[in-house]
Symmetry: C2
Subunit: 174 residues, 2 copies
DNA sequence: TGACGCTTGTAGCGAGTGCTACAAGACGTT
DNA sequence: AACGTCTTGTAGCACTCGCTACAAGCGTCA
């Protein structure tokens, strides 16, 4: 048993039950150990969560290129719509749940959450840049516009106002 | 002491310390009572939180017309930028912190959070509709596009990527 | 005065929290 | 065989959580 062995089942548990109320004993049970051992390997619960978030960010980076289509989108709007649609599928719900926990953690000035969120955003931004149409006049600016719309629409969807966010996506130019 | 007397200090406490880890005893202390009394008045912690969120939503509706400018914006982009700038001021940080807690709660299918979030979004959407330029061709669609951009930009700001969201705001047409 | 209901205080329950002290086993080195 | 280090289990600490049982104070009305 090492950190590397423990992390996958821990992340799986967090994706299923949320990050906010994940405590040592249930986490340990999910990974087949004891709270005692988690603290032995990670030192502190905060360190555990930090390692967990780091692993999660890497996992997200890997997932992007497998779950998402390889070819470029036909327009900025189509690119945003694709990401929005895919992240709306039920198998993505666990990840989004954790994501909003992370955002809430950032809002409470938690450094580990902040780092993980930043890394995830950078990865997604780079992915969007690479999937904009070939002829996009300004891929950097385009990707940022697309990202903003995606995240706004995702938020509006999770609070029960999907129509608002989808209108926002439709209003993207290019 | 009644619910109405209790709610303002309770909401103040929540805005300062976050909604996620607000437990009965600290809340009671902030309101000058005991946990025993909070449960006496509200019955359950869940009911307390529900009442709190309802009060918060109403408070937000009231705040919109006082803290925000009365006149209409000169463009959709300007309207979004105004809301983004105002909500970026330090005195708005407590409200945003609670907001992300609410979104995280929605993502965990909490009904009370869901209701409050929906109400707040509706209020804000109506406000945006009323503050778009007179000549906007489609205020409903415009307000939705503005809302999506605002919320996306706010999220990107709280996770430490303000430049991305601001580029998204700048890309708003009209 | 006495009975009744509304409000409040004291004290505690059982469960869960992060974390730790202590000891025993496993295992390689000398 | 003896030692020392790494890994693991047992048991428990002090604390917080939401919630409740019980009773005392309170004003009101008969």
């Amino acid at each position: 048993m090492s950190r590397e062995t423990l992390l996958p089942p821990l992340v799986a548990y967090v994706m299923q039950h949320g990050l906010a109320d994940a405590s040592l004993r249930p986490l340990a049970k999910a990974a087949g150990t004891s709270d005692r051992m988690l603290l032995y390997h990670f030192g502190t619960k905060d360190a555990l969560v930090a390692a967990l978030l780091e692993y999660l960010a890497d996992m997200f980076a890997d997932a992007l290129d497998t779950a998402f289509p390889q070819e470029r989108a036909r327009s900025r709007r189509a690119c945003a719509q694709t990401v929005y649609d895919i992240t709306g599928r039920p198998e993505f719900a666990p990840f989004l749940r954790v994501w909003w926990d992370i955002v809430a953690g950032c809002s409470n000035s938690n450094a580990a959450y902040f780092d993980a969120a930043g890394r995830i955003m950078d990865v997604l931004l780079a992915w969007v840049v690479d999937h904009l149409p070939e002829g996009d006049p300004d891929p950097q600016a385009g990707a940022r516009a697309v990202m903003t719309a995606i995240k706004g629409a995702q938020m509006l969807r999770t609070v029960g106002r999907p129509d608002v966010g989808e209108a926002g996506l439709a209003a993207l130019e290019g």
